[in-house]
């Protein structure tokens, strides 16, 4: 009697211990892309540990990731047109499809039910069910005389809409997907030459595309799209000689802090500060190379900047209080990407040629951890699940 009670108790204990160990929350998980291996590491950003390496994701040379709103699934968009749905609880690929020949990024809809992918070839976007990855809509980017354009700068917008830019056509398209049988497409033409990427302001109101073929940015106010696309900063840097750009800046992490917006200049070694109230240039902050990512810490106090080849071993930090450089760091060869923890106490930095990710304390600028990863590139935390435009 005594013995069996003991047995029962210990069995219960074992069960509860095992049961407990299997529970995992996903709010502080994320993915680190290993671009050359075609793998991704599931990491925990609180413990600063690797949980699992996910194999077989294809060509990840320009990969990006969005998260389901329950933060259980990560959708990885690969260069080879691959779309993979990773289960962060079970550490595995739940489903993977090849949806185009050459692709660049994606977005998840406001309601979380749709995944849109932007493609270079064939140029356009395709929309899938986030649940099954079944194709639900196909929108080729046809312009002019039956030409097809590469698509860049795809984001989700409030009102169950997607917005994207046509690199070759110089157009911005706003697509309402409330009725999937008949998506409503609004086209804005002649927005500027070669829009190369875009961002959505964190409040979901402004869609802003960076232009490569000419100075300035194209601005669309989604609260009043009937006003059309306007050009901002078109005079900026016109008289200056353009420096070569060895890597395209990315505008996903464009920093909107306070009423200021921080953007990379193109062909100038500067970060531009734009006053969001009147869209005028407030200041040009000289930095040590062509900026690639210009990202605001979640509280908006700091702006972290990385650079294109050949200055990509550095990072610089701007103090938003007085718009000056407050810190320069040299994490190592080929700093490709950065991601803040949700409230910004840490930043994770991928250093491709050193095969590591470095975690910095953003107040003290000290190293908190190093994580071994093979040729790491993009870092994406699940907190993105609840942010517009990410």
């Amino acid at each position: 009697m005594m013995f069996s009670r003991f047995l029962l108790l210990s069995t219960l204990l074992i069960v509860s211990v095992i049961g407990h160990a299997e529970l995992r929350a996903t709010g502080d998980l994320g993915l680190v892309i290993e671009r050359e291996r075609g793998t991704a590491l599931i990491i925990n950003s609180s413990q600063k540990t690797i949980l699992k390496r996910i194999e077989g994701l294809g060509d990840l040379s320009h990969a990006s990731v969005v998260f389901s709103r329950d933060q259980r699934y990560a959708y990885v968009f690969g260069r080879d047109g691959g779309l993979s749905k990773i289960d962060l609880l079970l550490d595995k690929i739940e489903k993977r499809i090849i949806q185009a020949g050459n692709s660049i990024g994606g977005a998840i809809s406001q309601d979380g039910r749709l995944i849109a992918v932007s493609n270079y070839s064939p140029g356009g976007i395709k929309i899938f069910s986030s649940d099954t990855l079944a194709l639900v809509a196909d929108i080729p980017a046809i312009y002019g005389d039956e030409q097809q354009s590469k698509v860049v700068g795809l984001v989700d917008a409030p009102g169950q809409r997607f917005v994207f830019s046509l690199f070759d056509a110089g157009e911005i398209w706003l697509v309402d997907v409330n009725n999937l049988q008949q998506p409503l497409i609004q086209k804005f033409k002649e927005v500027g030459s070669q829009p190369y990427d875009a961002l959505l302001s964190p409040d979901g109101r402004y869609y802003i595309a960076g232009l490569f073929g000419e100075s300035g940015l194209a601005l669309l106010d989604l609260w009043q799209p009937e006003l059309g696309v306007t050009r901002i900063l078109s005079d900026y840097g016109k008289q200056d000689e353009k420096l070569p750009v060895y890597k395209m800046p990315h505008l996903e992490g464009w920093a909107v802090a306070d009423d200021l917006m921080f953007v990379p200049a193109v062909g100038q070694h500067e970060v531009l500060v734009i006053n969001k109230r009147n869209w005028q240039l407030l200041k040009r902050i000289p930095v040590l190379g062509q900026p690639v990512f210009v990202m605001a810490r979640p509280d908006g106090r700091q702006i972290w900047v990385n650079f294109a080849f050949p200055d990509n071993q550095h990072l610089q930090v701007i103090d938003v209080k007085d718009l000056t450089l407050m810190k320069s760091l040299t994490p190592g060869k080929a700093v490709l990407h950065m991601e803040f923890t949700p409230r910004g106490e840490d930043i994770w930095v991928s250093v491709r040629d050193e095969d590591r990710v470095i975690v910095y304390d953003t107040e003290r600028f000290t190293e908190k951890a190093r994580i071994e990863a093979e040729k790491p590139s993009g870092i994406f935390f699940s907190a993105r699940a609840h942010k517009l435009g990410l």
């Binding site: 671009r35 050359e36 060509d59 990840l60 040379s61 320009h62 260069r79 080879d80 050459n102 660049i104 270079y120 070839s121 590469k150 690199f167 070669q194 190369y196 490569f212 073929g213 070569p244 750009v245 060895y246 890597k247 395209m248 080849f309 050949p310 080929a334 491709r352 040629d353 040729k375």
Partner: protein, 101 residues
């Protein structure tokens, strides 16, 4: 005849100054990762066109070489002459000619 041609090719390359083994490794790394950010890690194309052997088959060496060294104005292709010598660019072009997927 074939051997003769091969010898000629080898001589030309030697004359142009074939990059050292370490430099070749660096160039391949550059091609994969830095050129790859626009042309794709596997050179199948991205913002820039594919650079696989069949894609550049009908383009002359000199044309490709000049593109690499001087870039192309009005496009996203930047000039690499500050980082790659003409001999190294020539080596890259012959490397690309033999690079299939």
């Amino acid at each position: 005849m074939k051997a003769c041609l091969l010898a000629l090719v080898l001589v030309t390359e030697a004359w142009a100054g074939t990059p050292s083994d370490t430099r070749q490794q660096q160039l391949i790394h550059l091609l994969k990762h830095d050129c790859g950010s626009c042309h794709g890690l596997t050179l199948q194309g991205g913002l820039g066109p594919a650079l696989l052997a069949e894609a550049i088959a009908d383009k002359a060496d000199a044309f490709l070489l000049t593109t690499i060294l001087n870039g192309r104005k009005g496009t996203a292709m930047p000039p690499w002459r500050d980082f790659i010598s003409p001999a190294e660019a020539q080596w890259l072009v012959s490397y690309l000619r033999h690079h299939q997927n």
